[in-house]
């Protein structure tokens, strides 16, 4: 049994039988006129318990004489209690209440997965933000919290706001950089995609498909590949951009490396990563705008044209207002993804150049704090602030761009 990683199998048994139990049992309950939600709950519990107890027993019994097959057989453990449970449930007389066996059987396992794989980790991350937690230390008996991983309350948040330590300085710098990045990316993205979508929409149907595919290509390209490509373009010594500058007798610039170079108060490295990011990202919004433009009834534009409106006036007074819901959703999505930028910057600059990284954004700080320096609590606190920030910006955008009508 030592060769078997029981921890892993316990996890498999739990995940599989909780899902089977909560999927099948509601259907059984439904057929017998019982509440399917009660079926989902009981099926999930019995599946979990049965999977753990009988999975382990089957593994133990079979391992003695048939070790190769034992892990496979152990997966039948959940059925030991679930099948009797399904058989023993007595039918009730026909109820007038509508039952929802299929609904409960579909939603319950997904809810379980969401709970285990998303909600618990999020709650754990929020909890960690109040502890000085490092996985290297054993800490207290409950989840390693307490003891050597002490409770620090709101200390991290106070430190972020008014601290003078390196961590606090780096956090505030990353917050500033993240906001700068998002505030430039969003308008730049909209400025490119909206007119471009309108232009593509105006060309012949066959060309439209070609353009749409071409502009969407960067979206499906790996971010690391995009970052490497733009890294070569911005290379100080051999990059395409500097070669062009040399051709026209301009001084080459160490775009990604020189912390002293700024344009309009924005570091050159930040501008470089923004260009790379927007190049990869704009195709996504573009196809959404093209779809939205196709949804605007021609009759409205036709009516405006008859009333003497020119192309710009039609775009300004008809197209743009009708695109408002689309602009809202693309703005929110672009803003959220900008706040979560990581891979392109990690590959192109690693947050540099400079001691106070010119392109160091919040997710980079989270990554470095958590996985390079084992400061899980501090990293969780930054993640929590990022979450609040994204939520606040989303709410504000929704308020500003809300429209109460449909066409």
């Amino acid at each position: 049994m030592e060769a078997v990683n029981l921890e892993a199998y316990r996890l498999y048994w739990a995940m599989i039988w909780a899902v089977v139990g909560s999927t099948v049992t509601p259907l059984v309950f439904d057929r017998r006129n019982r509440n399917p939600w009660a079926g989902a709950l009981s099926g999930l519990s019995i599946g979990l318990v049965s999977g753990q107890i009988f999975g382990w027993l089957l593994m133990k019994l079979f391992f003695e004489f048939w070790s190769d097959v034992a892990p496979t057989v152990s997966f039948a453990g959940g059925l030991v209690l679930l099948i009797p449970w399904w058989l023993w449930v007595k039918p009730r007389p026909q109820s007038a209440r509508p039952q929802r066996g299929m609904v409960a059987g579909t939603i319950s396992p997904l809810l379980f997965y969401l709970l285990v794989l998303s909600v618990f980790p999020i709650l754990w991350a929020v909890l960690l933000a109040f502890f000085d937690y490092s996985p290297r230390r054993t800490g207290g008996p409950i989840l390693g919290l307490g003891g050597d991983n002490p409770f620090v309350g709101l200390d991290y948040f106070k430190e972020m706001a008014e601290g003078t330590t390196r961590d606090a300085r780096m956090f505030r710098n990353s917050l500033k950089n993240t906001i700068t990045f998002a505030m430039i990316v969003l308008p730049l993205n909209l400025l490119i995609t909206l007119p471009l979508a309108a232009l593509i929409e105006s060309v012949h149907e066959r060309l439209k498909t070609v353009f749409r595919a071409l502009y969407f290509l960067p979206v499906v390209t790996s971010s690391v590949g995009v970052a490497v490509m733009w890294g070569y373009i911005f290379n100080a010594q051999y990059g395409l951009l500097n070669s062009g500058l040399k051709q026209i007798n301009m001084t080459p610039v160490a775009w990604l490396q020189d912390p002293r170079v700024e344009y309009f108060g924005i570091p050159a490295a930040m501008l470089a990563v923004i260009v790379a990011y927007v190049w990869q990202d704009y195709g996504y919004n573009l196809v959404i705008y093209i779809a939205a433009l196709q949804g605007i009834p021609d009759t409205l534009k036709e009516a405006a044209r008859i009333d003497g409106a020119n192309g710009f006036q039609i775009f300004r007074h008809i197209t743009l207002p009708l695109l408002r819901p689309t602009i809202m959703i693309t703005s929110i999505l672009t803003m959220i993804s900008s706040f979560q930028v990581f891979d392109i910057i990690q590959v192109m600059t690693r947050g540099g150049p400079g001691r106070i990284g010119k392109t160091d954004v919040m997710l980079l700080e989270v990554y470095n704090s958590a996985f390079r320096y084992d400061k899980m609590g501090w990293a969780a606190a930054i993640s929590f602030v990022l979450f609040l920030l994204v939520m606040a910006v989303t709410v504000v955008q929704m308020r500003l761009l809300r429209s109460d009508w449909e066409y």
């Binding site: 049994m1 030592e2 060769a3 078997v4 990683n5 029981l6 921890e7 107890i53 382990w56 027993l57 593994m59 133990k60 019994l61 209690l81 009797p84 449970w85 023993w88 449930v89 007595k90 490092s134 996985p135 290297r136 230390r137 054993t138 390693g144 050597d148 330590t165 390196r166 100080a236 010594q237 040399k246 001084t251 080459p252 160490a254 990604l256 490396q257 020189d258 912390p259 002293r260 600059t349 690693r350 540099g352 150049p353 400079g354 001691r355 470095n368 996985f371 390079r372 320096y373 084992d374």
Partner: protein, 428 residues
């Protein structure tokens, strides 16, 4: 329905009690199965497997399975597996990490510790594995990032310089480096002396302080002392190298033209880097001849700071920590086994005997000629000291502050003040 559930659960309990099974893990006493975790690096993993095979051949009741992880994934695996208690019995760690993981590691068994001679190993390596005077692991290599540099034979000859260089002073090195530096269209495309990657800056800074008679710790090792005259002189010397034009720290640093790559792509004529970098030549088959030569000293002795080296530890959760420790001693403290590992991996030995014994030493140099430059210096090394977070101090505090200073973003005084303040904050 509740009644049926109670009956069902009672049956389950009866079955469990009646089965009278033993707890998994309490297997037969004579068979011991161990797992060993290491990061993926063929030069390390292959000789380690040879040692595992040799040990299991001597101990037929023991089997050791090596599992390897890509480096970054390895760190994350340790971080998640150790709190879950799911780590391997034997864990490869870097010496300077050991004390931060000490809570989760098994100390050397008392019986073995009582007769163990700590002087067998170079102090600079073994000190990394000693926490509160307790031994938590043993090193199988000596990590030395400062003391010698790669030199490009073709470039030296083309510049009409003596090769291999035997610098007796820094002025001689600077003179050679200036002659080797090439600038085209206003941009440096060959650095005469590349010393601006992360490890080079950090370990040159530390060695400079030590060789000038200073120390980067206070007397009782409770605080860093980076704001000293010796530290200032060292940074001013680095600034002097930039002023002399032997390196452009904007174009050559750790993120752009890293010294290993720069050297083997003919973009750096002299590169300050650990001897392990000589193995990189396999990726550049057309590269010409090169050597690894000692650097001049800032003082009388070639003192340097070393952060231990890779080695093996045993997990506290292991049911066979004693066997794990027996293997660790077999792999690292046995001279023949250590020699096999160091020659096969091209690493610097942590075991003194391999340097003191001329036959062993000759074998080491034959396997890796670059070691000739570093073996005489090993006794001058001292351990960096126990830091709660060595990576943070080295790579996020010292390196970026010194690089900013070299790039003229901040002054020497500001760099020292920031380094001292931020490094000491990590000790709080």
């Amino acid at each position: 329905m509740v009644k049926r559930m109670v009956i069902l659960m009672t049956l389950v309990v009866m079955v469990l009690v009646g089965t009278n099974v033993t707890v998994p893990g309490a297997a037969a006493q004579d068979q011991v199965k161990l797992r060993l975790w290491a990061h993926q690096q063929a030069t390390f993993n292959d000789p380690l497997q040879v040692l595992i095979d040799a040990y299991t051949a001597e101990h037929p009741n023991v089997s050791i399975e090596m599992e390897t992880f890509e480096y970054n994934l390895y760190l994350q695996t340790l971080q998640t597996a150790m709190p879950a208690g799911d780590e391997a019995d034997i864990i490869e760690v870097f010496g300077s990490w050991t004390c931060s993981y000490a809570d989760r590691l098994a100390a050397m068994p008392e019986a073995a510790a009582a007769s163990f001679n700590r002087d067998m190993f170079f102090k600079a390596t073994l000190d990394g594995y000693i926490c509160d005077d307790t031994l938590y692991g043993l090193p199988f290599e000596f990590n030395m990032e400062y003391g010698a540099a790669l030199v490009n034979k073709g470039m030296f000859e083309a510049a009409g310089l003596n090769y291999p260089p035997a610098w007796t002073s820094w002025d001689e090195l600077i003179s050679d480096a200036k002659a080797l530096t090439k600038i085209t269209d206003g941009q440096m495309n060959v650095a005469g002396f590349h010393f601006t990657n992360q490890d080079a800056i950090v370990f040159m800074f530390l060695a400079g302080i030590l060789q000038r008679g200073g120390n980067f710790w206070n007397d009782d090792h409770t605080e860093f002392n980076f704001d000293s005259d010796e530290a200032r002189e060292t940074l001013e010397f680095m600034q002097h190298l930039v002023d002399e034009g032997v390196i452009d720290p904007v174009l050559y640093n750790d993120t752009a033209n890293w010294s290993g790559t720069a050297f083997f792509t003919n973009q750096a004529a002299i590169a300050l880097i650990g001897s392990w970098a000589t193995a990189l030549v396999v990726d550049y088959p057309d590269f010409g001849e090169f050597d690894y030569v000692p650097l001049p000293s800032f003082g009388d002795a070639p003192l340097f700071a070393a952060d231990s080296g890779w080695g093996l530890t045993a997990s506290k959760n292991s049911e066979h920590a004693d066997v794990a420790w027996d293997f660790i001693q077999f792999a690292t403290a046995n001279a023949d086994n250590a020699l096999m590992f160091n020659t096969a991996s091209g690493t610097i030995p942590a075991l003194r005997e391999l340097v003191d014994n001329e036959a062993y030493k000759a074998e080491l140099i034959e396997a890796n000629p670059a070691l000739e430059a570093v073996l005489p210096q090993l006794a001058s090394g001292s351990y960096i000291g126990e830091m709660p977070d060595r990576d943070l101090v080295f790579y996020s505090i010292i390196y970026p502050n010194v690089l900013d200073m070299l790039q003229e973003v901040q002054s020497v005084d500001d760099a020292l003040a920031f380094i001292n303040e931020d490094a000491n904050a990590t000790l709080e």
